[in-house]
């Protein structure tokens, strides 16, 4: 099982970048032209994130450098230690459903601090990649059609985020240790 997860990690990207162009060529798509046409959008997408990430990076950086982050994590640590959740990833679990840029900034901060190949770095990477920003999705999707009462949709989103968070931690322990 854990072997399988590592195999997927190693093969997913190479297989996709061979399969997609091959399939497209079979469908008579001019693959290289399609590639360059789509790739143009990548630069804009990356640049468009700058204001969000700078804003969040500064806020999180100030919060951590001041010692406030350690105080917050210290409060929760005794409880978290019992269930094996590293205190450092808890803020990520809280930020993830609320702000995409904020959780990306916090993930980056953890990776910079502990290294991408540390257990915390791997957990943060997995948590960040595995769910979307629930509040943002609700605002955009329901806002677009004028829904004011989300009903139980918010609860469902948050339950799924919490399960995804715990699953990411458990899976990282199983696969990487």
């Amino acid at each position: 099982m854990y072997q399988l997860v590592s195999i997927i990690s190693a093969w997913a990207i190479p297989v996709l970048i061979v399969f997609i162009p091959l399939y497209a060529a079979y469908k008579k798509v001019p693959v290289y032209e399609a590639f360059t046409e789509g790739a143009k959008g990548g630069f804009d997408t990356a640049i468009r994130i700058i204001p969000h990430l700078v804003g969040m990076m500064v806020a999180i950086s100030v919060f951590r450098a001041s010692g406030a982050m350690d105080m917050l994590i210290g409060l929760a640590r005794p409880l978290l230690d019992k269930v094996g959740i590293p205190g450092e990833v808890l803020p990520l679990g809280i930020l993830r459903p609320i702000t995409g840029a904020g959780s990306l900034a916090y993930t980056t901060d953890l990776i910079a601090q502990f290294g991408p190949d540390s257990m915390i770095g791997r957990m943060a990477s997995t948590i960040q990649g595995s769910t979307d920003t629930t509040l943002y999705v609700i605002t955009v999707y329901f806002g677009a059609v004028g829904i004011r009462k989300a009903g139980y949709a918010l609860k469902v989103g948050l339950i799924s985020d919490a399960v995804g968070f715990l699953a990411a931690i458990a899976i990282c322990y199983l696969v990487f240790s």
Binding site: I49, V62, S130, V156
Partner: protein, 201 residues
């Protein structure tokens, strides 16, 4: 909400630093944070340019529609209240397949289209219908095949194996999606037990 969190981080940081007498750390952190923010985004350019190129090939080859067709039975199962030939079904399928390929830019417009169609079926225009809640649940958990942004950040910080989290992410996202679907079914059943007043009028 985001406004408050942002304000909280900066204000709490300022207060704690002031009390502990290391206010210089705040200034340093501001410059460091801003610098990291920009360098991370610049680091994203390489992967995003490449990946969006690959994804355009997939789109032009009709792969999105292909995946969408495979999802039809699942969509029928998840949205029992939507008639099988209703246009909402098509948009939901496109939304899900774009999510799987990690095409956020394509997934959102399709999801909104699907919401508009579901809104036409919705008896109470201000309150989310069960079908709308299901569509939302699928999107908040959003199955991810390749988490490109994270891979790029791991590369920036010289990971020995930037893509090693592809498998763990896929597994975690599958668990989160399953939880979303189960939670949604549970709440939908509870919701259906109380007949909405609109159904009688």
């Amino acid at each position: 909400m985001v406004n408050w969190i942002w304000l909280f981080f900066i204000l709490a940081g300022f207060i704690v630093a002031a009390i502990q007498g290391n206010i210089e750390a705040v200034t340093q952190a501001v410059f460091d944070g801003a610098k990291t923010g920009v360098s991370v985004c610049i680091g994203l350019v390489s992967i995003l340019v490449f990946w969006l190129g690959i994804m355009r090939i997939a789109e032009d080859a009709g792969l999105l529609k292909r995946i969408a067709r495979l999802l039809r039975p699942l969509v029928r199962l998840l949205f029992p209240s939507v008639p099988p030939d209703h246009p909402a079904i098509g948009y939901i399928m496109s939304n899900m397949s774009a999510n799987i390929l990690g095409l956020g830019n394509a997934a959102t417009p399709m999801g909104i289209k699907a919401m508009e169609e579901l809104q036409k079926l919705n008896p109470d225009k201000e309150k989310a219908s069960p079908a709308m809640a299901t569509l939302l649940a699928i999107n908040t958990a959003s199955i991810t095949l390749i988490p490109t942004t994270i891979i790029a950040i791991r590369m920036n910080y010289n990971s020995a194996s930037p893509a090693e989290i592809v498998g763990t992410t896929l597994l975690a996202t599958a668990v989160a999606t399953a939880a979303a679907i189960l939670a949604d079914m549970w709440y939908r059943r509870k919701h259906n037990r109380l007949p909405p007043p609109s159904e009688r009028g």
